[in-house]
Structure formats: C-alpha cells, structure tokens
Amino acid sequence: MSVTAFLTDSTLCIGCKACEVACKEWNEVSEDGLEWSGFSYDNTGAVGASTWRHVKFVEHAPTPGLGGNVGEAASWVFSSDVCKHCEEAGCLEACPTGSIVRTEFGGVFVQPDVCNGCGYCVTSCPFGVVERNQKDGRAFKCTFCYDRQKVGLQPACAKACPTESIKFGEIEHLRREARDRVEQLHQRGMDDAVVYDPTETSVGGIHAMFVVRGDPRAYNLPPNPEVPTIYLKKAWTSSAIAAGLLLGGTLLAFLTDGRNGR
C-alpha cells in the first residue's frame, strides 16, 4: 500500500470545475448554494462541508498584449483547492471520538458513522477545510476518495480532470514531479512559479501539494500553517499553574481562617 497524494498544478487548470462536479457526483455531496459572491467568477468562495473540491479564480488586471499563461504576467489563474491531508493533521489530533483517522494511503478520513458533530476539528484546522454541516450536524471534508483508493481507483477529481492539472500518485514521486515542473516553468520564463508544500512548519508537509504562480497567499494558502497541538504544552502548563493556585489558595484561605463562619 503506497502513500498517495494530490499535486494540483494551477498552471494547467482551465477552471472547468469538472473536479468539483465529479467530487459531488461520486461522494453525493449536497449543493453548496446558488449565490453570487460579487467578487469574481468564483461563487463558492472556499472549501467546506458541501464543497470538497473548490476551484479558485485568481484574476489579475490584464496587461495589453499579453494573454494566457505567459511568463511576464498571468492574467487569470485557476487553482483547484482541496483538503491538504496534513502529515500532522490538526483535525485528526483534536477529534475526541476517534472518528478522524489516518488511512493506509496517508489521507485523513472522517468516519461519518462515528462523528458526533462536536465541531472541535473545525477550530483546529489551520487551512479552514473541515466544516460542520448545520443540517446534518456532522463534520465533513474531502475523503481523499478512500472508497475508490481501496479498490485501486484514483480519486474522482483527478480522474475527471481533463488537463491533468490534478495529478494523483505516490507522494514522493509527486514531490519530485512538482520540483521538476517548477524548474520547467522557470525555464519557460514563469519565474514566479512555486511549489506549496509546508514541510518546514509543524504541519510537516501535506498530501495535497500545489504548483502556483506568485504569492501562495493570493490563493488563501497560509505561509505558516501550524498544527494546534504545538500550543498544548503552554496551555496545559498554564492549566497546572491554575490548578495549583486554586488548590494552594483555597487551602491557605481556609487554614488561616479556622474560626470562620461558626
């Protein structure tokens, strides 16, 4: 069983949203509202309980004479966002029911038959991916098509992608491919192409890497995502001090005042 990953290459994405549709079809994800954002062609905004793949439309002011995916300036970029399936996943660590597990393929999977909708994973995801479905009550996110992977199929989004912008495969293989691709793009004059894979932070790398042009922040990809367990030591230390103060203070107060209340 190999550890798998996505590599989403925004320089190949044409914004067709076939991945979104394929995901919804396969996983029977409910519709996510027909509302206009008023910001761009993107009327969905972000991944959430009913959006497990989400195509971002990063639109720049067009430069006359330059069009498409040229080196000088990308006028319009699309990037299909998805759960990052972190190496150190905040949601997985936070889940009090053990509903969220690591699969044999390295993905992070919410078992819908165990989740009781406490919502703690929602506050623990540094990428704002997992969300509680208010109608259903449980938390939902990309399953990495665990059911498909189980039987040797690739995830529905990668399968449906007509330009191979979404690549699926063995993680180390894709990491190499991402590096090669960025090198290739640099040779073509797209100097702003970068790989987004935060291996340096406490998240320790992700199973859904991205190749994007320009600053990843324009794609709502945080520069320093941190798994919230790093705050535990500080918080529990404070908790222990608080408990000590409460115990010591109460003892002191009652011992020094033996005569009270009689």
């Binding site: 972000a46 990428f127 479905n133 600053d215 709502n220 918080a235 409460l246 107060a253 009652f254 005042d257």
Partner: protein, 363 residues
C-alpha cells in the same frame, strides 16, 4: 410592454455606440454602473483570496460559553467544598459547595451534549481517550467530576437524612476526593480547549487562557456561595479578592500588549464585551470587597452581595467575550495569511464589512 423593452434596448445600444466612439479616441469618459461595494478586492499577496477568510468560524452555539461558565464555577466550588471539609470549616458551607458542584455536574454535560451536531452520539466520545485532544481529556475530566460531585452531594444528603452508615461514608469521601481531583482541571481546562486551536486570538493566548478561566471560575464559585448566604466567611472573602485581583492583572496584560491578534479583545463589539466582562470580574468586585472589609457588619454583607453578582456576571460575560473574539479572529482574513494591515493600501469597503475586528490604530 414590448415597446418598453425595445426602448430600453435602444438606449443600451446608444450607450454602447457612445462607448465605442470614445474608445476610438483612446479615452473612455463613460463610467459604467458601479455595483454596490465596488471596487472589489483583488486576489493578491496583499489582499489574500479576495479577502475571504481562510479559517472557519467555531461552529459552537450559545451552549458552549455557558458550559465554560458553569464548568468553571462548579469545578472551583467542588474544590472549595472539599478543602472546607478537610479543614473543618462549617458544615453548611461544605454542603452548599457540594450542591453547587452537583448542579454543575448535571448542567455541564447537558449543555455539552446539546451543542453536539449529533447529541445522540455523545457516547462516541467515550470510545477513546486521546491525551493530545483537549476535548477528549475534557470529556473524561467532566465524567470523573460529574460522577464524584454528584456522589458526594447525594451521599451527604442521605447521611443528613437517614443517619451515617459505612457505605454512605465511603461514597461521600470517594466522591469528594474525585470531585476535588477532577475539579481542579475541570475549572480551567476550557482555556486549554480553545487555546490549542487554529484560531489566532485563542492560540496566541494559550498560556493565559487556562489561568484566566480558572480564576474567573473561582470568582463565580465564591460569588454563588456568598449569594447562598456565606457572606461572613473570611476564607471566601480572601478567595474572591484573590480572583478579582488576578482578573485585574489579566485585563491589564491584555490591554497593555498591542498585537493585531489581540484586536478582537479591544475593538468592536467583541472588544466591548471583553472589557465589560473584565471590569465586572476584576476592578468592580475587588473595590467592593475592599470596601466591605472597611464597612460595618451589616453593610459589609450587602456590599459583598454586590461583589458576588459582579463576579458571576463578569465570569459569564468573559466566556461569551472570548468565544465572540474567536469568531472575529477567524473572520480576520489577514491573520492566518500573516498579512500586515499596512500592506493593504486601499481601504476597501468590503474589507470593513468582512473583517469586523476593524483596523487597530496601534498595530
């Protein structure tokens, strides 16, 4: 009707012709209809993704801040009850403290379960124990606390009614010991719970929150016991004063630091709520308690009643404020992307709408 449409079409064509004429000269004079809220923020390194917040807001409803309040007060009350018993303080105080803890042991799980998306699956929390999940540790702590506090109060009640017996004494002592042992973490773990999350205003204060919440819970527990009639107890007075002084220090700590992640605690509605909670938890009860020390016996009792109400209200409002601040913090698209305010040159109206934390003048 069809005429009206034709005229409208004609006008539109004329307008297009005009734009075309102007475009030939290279300069457009006509400005199109500007949609409400324009100009829209662009996706960029300075604006993030159209200033759409990255983080999801906490999905919790009103039960959770109330749970934080009840749990904090009940945990501290159990500790007071057990210590008062061990040190031989008056029986009535011990019984009252136990009843407060027991009431909390019933209300707390009810609130926690009510907030679940699938309340009928509460027991799923008891299939694992995960030390790395504060929610899991908290649920087990709650379970231990509830069992202990309820057993101690119930056994105490039976003993008072039907006379002492060995099983009752064992149950009472074991329950009391358990409610003390679990009450200590139970009174403040909720600070760890929200401290160890991805929400900036919470995790940046992870080292403060448990102490803050613990002391807030102590203030509320003392207040409740005093309202139950123990307004002459000097130990409670000392504890109430200590908790209030700590809350003054905590408030000063929040106010004296200036970081953009602290903005929700100082600005906007959540800032107002935070400050209200802070004043009611710290300066007001502290001043009243000092005044009560100097006042006559009769006046003292009535002043302490006011101090109690202030501490209780302050504790509840403080929990509401921190949850509200968490919402504001998650809504601030800048924080997660580490974008400084200064980098955003254009003051977009959409920004003001989305980021209710507002722009801090000092960050």
């Amino acid at each position: 009707m069809s005429d009206a449409i034709r005229i409208s079409d004609l006008q539109r064509e004329q307008r297009l012709d005009e734009i075309r004429r102007q475009a030939e000269h290279g300069q457009l004079q006509v400005v199109g209809v500007r949609p409400a809220g324009a100009p829209f923020p662009q996706a960029s390194a300075a604006n993030g993704y159209y200033q759409i917040p990255l983080l999801k807001e906490p999905p919790w409803t009103w039960e959770i801040p109330l749970y934080f309040f009840v749990g904090g007060a009940a945990g501290a009350a159990a500790v007071i009850g057990a210590i008062a018993n061990y040190t031989g303080a008056d029986r009535e105080l011990v019984q009252h403290a136990r009843w407060v803890a027991a009431a909390g042991s019933v209300i707390s799980p009810a609130l926690l379960i009510a907030d679940l998306g699938r309340p009928e699956r509460f027991l799923a929390m008891l299939r694992v124990f995960k030390p790395q999940s504060p929610m899991s540790v908290g649920v087990w702590t709650l379970l231990g606390f509830s069992t202990g506090a309820a057993a101690a109060a119930f056994a105490g009640f039976l003993r008072a009614r039907y006379g002492p017996s060995l099983p009752l004494r064992v149950l009472e002592n074991a329950g009391q010991a358990a409610s003390l042992a679990f009450g200590l973490p139970f009174s403040n773990y909720t600070g760890v719970l929200i401290g160890a999350t991805a929400i900036p205003v919470w995790n940046k204060n992870a080292g403060d929150l448990p102490l803050h919440f613990g002391m807030s819970g102590l203030g509320a527990a003392v207040g409740i016991l005093e309202l139950l009639g123990h307004r002459k107890n000097r130990a409670l007075q000392a504890l109430g004063l200590g908790a209030a002084l700590f809350e003054i220090w905590e408030g000063a700590r929040i106010e004296s630091r200036s970081h953009s992640h602290l903005d929700p605690l100082k600005h906007g509605f959540s800032g107002l709520v935070t400050r209200t909670g802070g004043v009611l938890s710290g300066p007001v009860p502290a001043a009243l308690r000092i005044a009560s020390l100097l006042a006559s016996r009769e006046r003292s009792s009535s002043i302490r009643r006011w101090a109690s109400w202030s501490s209780i209200a302050g504790s509840l409002i403080t929990r509401i404020a921190w949850i509200q601040a968490g919402h504001m913090s998650a809504r601030n698209w800048r924080l997660a992307l580490e974008i400084k305010d200064a980098e955003d040159a254009g003051a977009h109206s959409a920004d003001a709408r989305r980021s209710a934390t507002g722009k801090s003048p000092n960050s």
